[in-house]
Amino acid sequence: MTPEVLYNIRTITYIIASATFIIGLKRMGNAKTARNGNLIAAVGMTLAIIASIFIHVNKVQTETGVAFEQVETPGFIYSLIFAAIIIGTIIGWLTAKKVQMTKMPELVSMFNGMGGACAALIGLMEFHHNTGNTGALIAIVLGLIIGSVSFSGSVIAFLKLNGTMNKPVRLPSYNIINTLVMIGVFAFGAYMIFSGTESSTLLYLLFAAALIYGILFTIPIGGADMPVVISLLNSFTGLAAAFGGFLYDNKVMLTGGILVGSAGTLLTLVMCKAMNRPLSNVIFGAFGGGGASAGDGPDVKGSIKDMSVADAAVLLNYSKKVVIVPGYGLAVAQAQHIIHELEMLLEERGVEVKYAIHPVAGRMPGHMNVLLAESNVDYGKLVEMEEINPELEQTDVVLVVGANDVVNPAAKTDPSSPIYGMPILEVDKAKHIIVNKRSMNAGYAGIDNLLFYDPKTSMLFGDAKKALTELVAELKTM
C-alpha cells in the first residue's frame, strides 16, 4: 500500500473512533444502553491507538503539492511503546478490577490525573521541537499548564477522598493568593510562547509552577465538594488532550478532548445545580471549612434521644411505609448488602420500602445508586429527591443510614448556614425518623444537624453494617 493509502486508512480509523466516542457518550446517558456505550467507545479507542502505532506516515507540504512519507521508526522504540502499553494495561486493569466499590470516586480521580500528567509530558517534550512556531507553542504551553494542574489537583482530590487529607487547608487570603498564582502561571506561559526562549530550566519551572497551582486550587476545597472538583478537573484533562490534537492536527484527539471538555463542564454545572450553589462558590466559597460558620451551632438544642435495636425493630415492623436514606456512612461500612436484606425482610411483612436518593449523597452523584445496584436492590425502588419529598409526609419511618448534610433542615431554615439553599430530603416531615450514625460528629460540611434534636428523631448509634445486622437479626425473631 502506498503511504497515501495508509495515511487515509488511519484517517478513517480516527473518523470511526470519533463517532464511537459520541455514540458511546450518548448511550452512557441511559441506564439500559450505558454498558454497551462504554464498550463501543473502548473499541473505538483501541482502533485509534493501533492505527497511531502502526501507521506512521506524515503529510508534508512540497512545492508541487502535498506528499505522504512513511517514516521508519527503530524497532527498539516500538518495543518501548509496547512495553509501556503492557505495563499500563496490567496496572490499570488490576487496579480497576480490584478496587472496592466505595473507592470508585478516588480511582476516577487518579486515572484522570494520569491523563493530565500524560498531556503535561507531551508539552514538556514538544516544546523544543517547535521554537518559533507561535501557534504550536500556544497549544503546547496551554496543554502543559492545564495537564499539570489537572494532575496535581487530581492527586489532592484523591488524597482528600481517601481520607489522608480530610480538612480543607486554607492559607490566609487564599483566594487572592490563588488568583495571583494563576495569573502568574499564565503570564509565565505567555512569556514562554512569545519570547522565543529555549531554556529548559524555564520550561521545568513553568511545569513546577503549574503543579503548585493545581495543589493550591484544590487544597482549600472541602471534601463534600470533591465530586464537583473531579468533574471539573476531568474536563480540564479533556481540554489538555484537545490542545494536543490541535498541535498534531490530530482529529481524534480533538474530538475526544473537546467532547469531554464540554460534556465535563456541563456535568460540573449540573452537579452544582443539584447542590443549588454556583460553581464560583465551590471554588472560592466557604463550604465545610472550620472557620466561623461551622462553629456557630444552632442556638436552641433539644436533647438527643437514643434508641435500642429492639425498639427500632418494633417501630419498623409495624410501619406501613419506610423510606431509607443512604449516605456515605453506608458506603464506608459496606452496608449495602445488609440494607437490602433489611428491605426484603420488611417487604415480606407487607411494609412498603423505598430508598430516597439525594443527588449528592455519598462522594459522587449516583454513588448510592451504584452501591445499591451492587447488592441487587431493584432499580425502581431508588427514588430521586424531587419525587420522594412529597411522599415523606405519609411515611411512617425514615431510616437515615450514614447521611447527614443532605437531611439537614438548616439548608431550608437557617440563612447563616453554609449549606443554606441546598435542596434537601425533607425527612423531618415523616412521622418518625431513625438516624443511624457512628457518633455525633458533624458531617462532611462540618456543621451541626438540628434534625438529630427533633423530638421525632431517635438515634441508633453504631457502625452501619453492625447496627443493621443486629436490626435484621432482631426483626427475624419477631
Binding site: M45, V71, G256
Partner: protein
C-alpha cells in the same frame, strides 16, 4: 491584530470543528439522570485518555539517542494507557451493576 485574524483564517476548519464538537458534547449528555452521573464522568474520563495518541506520536518521532526524551515518552505512554484501560474497566464495573435483574 492582523496576525490573529489571519491565524483564524488559516485554521478555520479546525475552529469550525472545535465549535461543533463543543455543542455535540453539550447535547450528548443533556438530560442525563442523576443516577448515571458517576459512570458518565468515569466514561468521559476514559475518553480523554485519547491523549495517549499524542504520547505515541511523540515516541514515534523521538530521537533514539535522547534518553531523557525516551524516558519521558515512555512514562507518558504508561500514564495514557492507565487512563484509557483503567477508565474503561472501572466504568464497565460500575455499569455492570445497572444491568437488568
Amino acid at each position: 491584530m492582523t496576525e490573529i485574524i489571519n491565524f483564524i483564517g488559516t485554521h478555520q476548519e479546525i475552529i469550525f470543528f472545535i465549535i461543533l464538537s463543543v455543542f455535540v458534547g453539550i447535547e450528548v449528555i443533556g438530560g442525563v439522570p442523576t443516577v448515571l452521573h458517576t459512570p458518565l464522568m468515569s466514561g468521559a474520563n476514559a475518553i480523554h485518555g485519547v491523549v495517549i495518541v499524542g504520547a505515541i506520536i511523540v515516541m514515534l518521532n523521538v530521537d533514539a539517542n535522547d534518553y531523557v526524551a525516551l524516558s519521558l515518552g515512555f512514562l507518558a505512554v504508561v500514564l495514557g494507557t492507565l487512563n484509557v484501560v483503567g477508565g474503561f474497566v472501572v466504568t464497565d464495573r460500575m455499569l455492570e451493576m445497572f444491568k437488568k435483574k
